[in-house]
């Protein structure tokens, strides 16, 4: 079938049809040809009997009988051949054999009819000659319908039937005979031409039918193929959808799980630091009392021990406060709203007024925007960064500059100072919890501040980082998305 698909031509000129199609058309033609049997043969036989009966009076009886017998034999052979063909039902591949048999049969019939011109041509009776011519012409006309599917059969039959009688007429001489002969010749020529046309028409129709059916078969197969692909596509789609849903479900589960764990951790940090404060307070209280009341009554060592206890308690308290702040900086406790950074910054600076006054710090800032954030937490960030800028100062009074810019998606804040700076190799470490770069005696603090800033900024969907060199001040930058982060 693929041959047919690859070389289908749809114009009925018959120019370049495939081998396969030619064979199929041939098969159909041969079927058509054989299809007229046995009726065509019986009609012919009847004609032959009538002719023989009519010519009996003017011809040799023995010759007539022999001729009729030959005719019957040929007819019987052909009918048998037709039956054999029907029984055999040959495929397109084996049909040329049958075509040749049919052709042989037709030629044989033609030859027998042609022989009538020799045997049944009464020299004296013009009427009988004309009758003979009439019958022979009629046979050729009849053969047009039955033999044209296999054109050589028709052409050879017509020639075999008429040429002898034409020759006899022409040989007789005389006006009527010559006229008869030439008329018959003309008739023969016309029959052959018309027969050829009819043959063409039959062949074209068959070709068209086969092309159509080839086309239909091709389209059907293509459609089935497309349908199968469609089906596959649909089932793939369904599978994809399913796995997508599965994935989404898993992601949701995982997110819920992580949220839950996060919430638990934050709660734990909060509760732990909250509950730790109480006994700590007791330690600090009574160590303070001891220090205040018994300083004069104890020796140097005891006073030192008490000092260390007080110091340790204070430090622990600061760390727990920091831890509390750190746990509160998480997503659990976020409350987003429109936040006026000017006001928030003002509050943060107010909270640092003692340190500012003590250090003689100058603080300048750009006009600060309104953003969508948690104002409490943003205040903490400002307070930590400005506080650090003041705390880690060099010899000169600290100068703190706060700038703001924005791009399509984020606000970008920067806090620049002229302090001691930070070496690049520490730039990541300092944002980790409890990381300190300096001894507690030089610069106080618990190492929580920047970790809290980091957590707060990240929970808003932003980032914080530092640009600095040792001895050259530091610029801390952080971003806050203009639109709140989805989920989290």
């Amino acid at each position: 079938m693929t041959d047919a698909i690859s070389s289908v031509q749809t114009h009925p000129g018959g120019a370049a049809v495939s081998v396969e199609q030619r064979r199929l058309v041939l098969l159909e033609r041969v079927r058509l040809a054989y299809g007229h049997m046995p009726s065509s043969q019986l009609v012919a036989l009847a004609g032959a009997v009538v002719l023989a009966a009519v010519q009996w009076s003017v011809a040799e009886p023995a010759a007539v009988i022999v001729w009729l017998a030959c005719f019957c034999a040929v007819t019987a052979a052909r009918v048998g051949d037709g039956v054999a063909f029907r029984r055999a039902r040959p495929p397109a591949g084996g049909v040329s054999r049958w075509r040749n048999r049919f052709l042989a049969g037709a030629v044989a019939s033609g030859a027998v009819w042609g022989a009538a011109a020799a045997v049944l041509f009464p020299v004296q009776s013009l009427e009988h000659q004309v009758f003979l011519a009439f019958v022979l012409g009629g046979m050729v006309a009849g053969a047009m319908t039955t033999l044209t599917p296999v054109f050589p059969a028709f052409a050879l039959f017509a020639l075999a039937v008429l040429l002898p009688v034409i020759t006899r007429f022409l040989l007789e001489g005389g006006l009527i005979h010559s006229a008869m002969g030439w008329m018959l010749a003309l008739y023969l020529a016309a029959m052959i031409v018309i027969g050829r046309r009819i043959h063409r028409a039959i062949t074209d129709a068959l070709n068209l039918r086969y092309e159509n059916s080839a086309l239909i078969a091709y389209l059907t197969s293509a459609r089935d193929h497309a349908e199968a692909l469609n089906q596959e596509l649909r089932s793939t789609q369904a599978a994809l959808q399913k796995s997508n849903e599965e994935l989404e479900r898993r992601v949701e589960e995982r997110t819920a799980e992580l949220s839950r764990i996060n919430a638990e951790l934050e709660k734990f940090a909060f509760v732990a630091s909250h509950d730790l404060q109480e006994p700590l307070r007791t330690v600090a209280n009574f160590a303070g009392l001891l220090e205040a009341r018994y300083r004069d009554r104890l020796d140097e060592d005891a006073n030192d021990y008490i000092a260390f206890i007080v110091e340790g308690a204070a430090h622990m308290r600061a760390m727990i406060d920091g831890l509390l702040a750190f746990s509160r900086a998480g997503a659990q406790y976020r409350a987003f709203a429109e936040t006026d950074c000017e006001a928030v910054f003002g509050r943060a600076v107010e909270g640092l007024s003692a340190a500012i006054h003590e250090s003689g710090a100058t603080i300048v800032h750009d006009p600060l925007p309104r953003i969508f954030a948690d104002s409490r937490l943003v205040e903490q960030v400002f307070r930590n960064l400005v506080g650090n800028a003041i705390k880690f100062r060099g010899r000169e009074p600290p100068r703190v500059e706060v700038n703001v810019s924005s791009d399509d998606t984020h606000w970008i804040f920067s806090v620049r100072d002229n302090g001691i700076g930070i070496s690049p190799r520490h730039h990541r470490r300092i944002f980790e919890i409890f990381e300190r770069l300096h001894g507690a005696d030089k610069y106080p603090g618990t190492g929580i501040g920047l970790a809290v800033c980091n957590k707060i900024v990240e929970s808003h969907g932003g980032k914080v980082w530092v640009e600095s060199q040792e001895g050259q001040g530091a610029t801390f930058r952080f971003t806050i998305p203009r639109l709140p982060r989805r989920g989290a």
Binding site: Q277, E278, T282, A284, N285, F286, G288, L289, A292
Partner: protein, 152 residues
Amino acid sequence: MIAIEKRGPASDTEIVILLVEDNPADVRMMAEALHVAEIPNRMFVVSDGEEALAFLRRENAFSGVPRPDVIVLDLKLPRKSGHDVLAAVKGDAELCAIPIVVLTSSRAEKDMIESYRLNADGFVTKPVGLNALVTEVRVIQNLVRWQATWND
């Protein structure tokens, strides 16, 4: 019931304090602070909410106790919570006149809001250090004096 009675100079400005507190260290601190602030007082201490109410209603073991001039109330108590005690006292026609100051380690805003909602007369977060506590105790003293003039 633990009653720590630190008798200062006997005078009619001596105030009777009911301290509802379960942490002995904080009880001691309160006593020290009163001493340093030189506030004459009789301080009674109960360590849970049920006992506090029994004391105020002078039930069972507490028959014959005086009516306190002020109640200093911790929130984190066993059996009955501080807020429950607050609600019970302020809801009682007889007892509601007694000023109650909530003295708690909690720094949570919602505790403060709830306390004032239940008509507490003061809310103090327990500070660190004796001096800071002395300041708070003086505030409580002023509250009692102010309340007394009001009652008169």
